[in-house]
């Protein structure tokens, strides 16, 4: 999996691209821990190009949510592909996360 980051207004956007499986999870988690250490209070995961996720990947989403709640920050997930959305539904993650249909809607979240 590849990921790129971009700052827009006061949001830190992470674009996820490819497969977030067990082979990729450690590297991605380290990168995200680094991002949290920078002190961002609004982080968006844009999942438009995320086409596979396993529990190792879901775990990182949960860590982000918990850490952002801990600093009274905002963690938003957007643009989930239908197959990925189904896995979020199965896991009960749809209720936990602020999920927006697209990046534009995610950026409007305050």
């Amino acid at each position: 999996m590849k990921h790129t980051t971009e700052t827009r207004d006061d949001h830190m956007i992470v674009f996820l691209d490819g497969r977030l499986d067990t082979t990729q999870a450690d590297a991605f988690e380290k990168a995200m821990t680094g991002l949290l250490d920078e002190g961002h209070t609004k982080i968006i995961f844009d999942c438009e190009k995320l086409n596979y996720i396993s529990s190792s990947g879901l775990r990182i989403f949960l860590i982000m949510q918990k850490k952002m709640m801990g600093v009274a920050g905002k963690f938003t997930v957007c643009s989930l592909q239908p197959a990925i959305k189904e896995i979020f539904d199965m896991s009960g993650f749809t209720m936990i996360f602020n999920i927006q249909p697209d990046l534009e809607a995610a950026l409007k979240e305050e």
Binding site: T22, T23, Y52, R59, L62, I87
Partner: protein, 138 residues
């Protein structure tokens, strides 16, 4: 009836071979992409559990996956020579908990059960065998 066997080592990087095998089966067996993806997820969870928790030594072990497609049913048997472990009796996570109370982890087996129509465990000849079945709707 279609058949395929995958012999893997007990290391996480072998997940790439599971992905490749499923992509190939999706193409040659005509599995719908959604099915191939969710089955890949179920197999990743099962395989990762074995690699991480089944062995008491640092030796090389073989994990064998047998795939069979017959009468619109995908049948997968995963065999390993690790310590006896029945994942089907593991407690299910409470997926209604809010984020602050959700434990990190414990989702793997739960996802396997959600994705597959049947999950069965057998112990025979000092091997664990996990049998997964999924009905394929074309």
């Amino acid at each position: 009836m279609q058949k395929h066997t995958l012999r893997l080592e007990n290391k996480i990087s072998e997940l790439d071979k599971i992905r490749d095998a499923l992509e190939e089966m999706a193409a040659t067996w005509g599995l719908p992409p959604q099915v191939s993806m969710s089955v890949n997820l179920a197999l990743e969870e099962a395989f990762t559990n074995i690699v991480n928790y089944a062995y008491d030594d640092d030796e090389r072990h073989e994990i064998i996956l047998h795939f069979k497609l017959q009468d619109n049913e995908l049948h997968i048997a995963i065999r390993d020579d690790g310590r006896p472990y029945d994942p089907t009796v593991q407690d299910e996570p409470d997926i209604a908990l809010p984020a602050t109370e959700r434990p990190i982890g414990g989702l793997g087996i739960f996802l396997i059960k959600k994705i597959m129509d049947e999950v069965k465990y057998e112990r025979a000849d000092n091997m664990n065998q996990l049998i997964l079945k999924k009905h394929i709707v074309q």
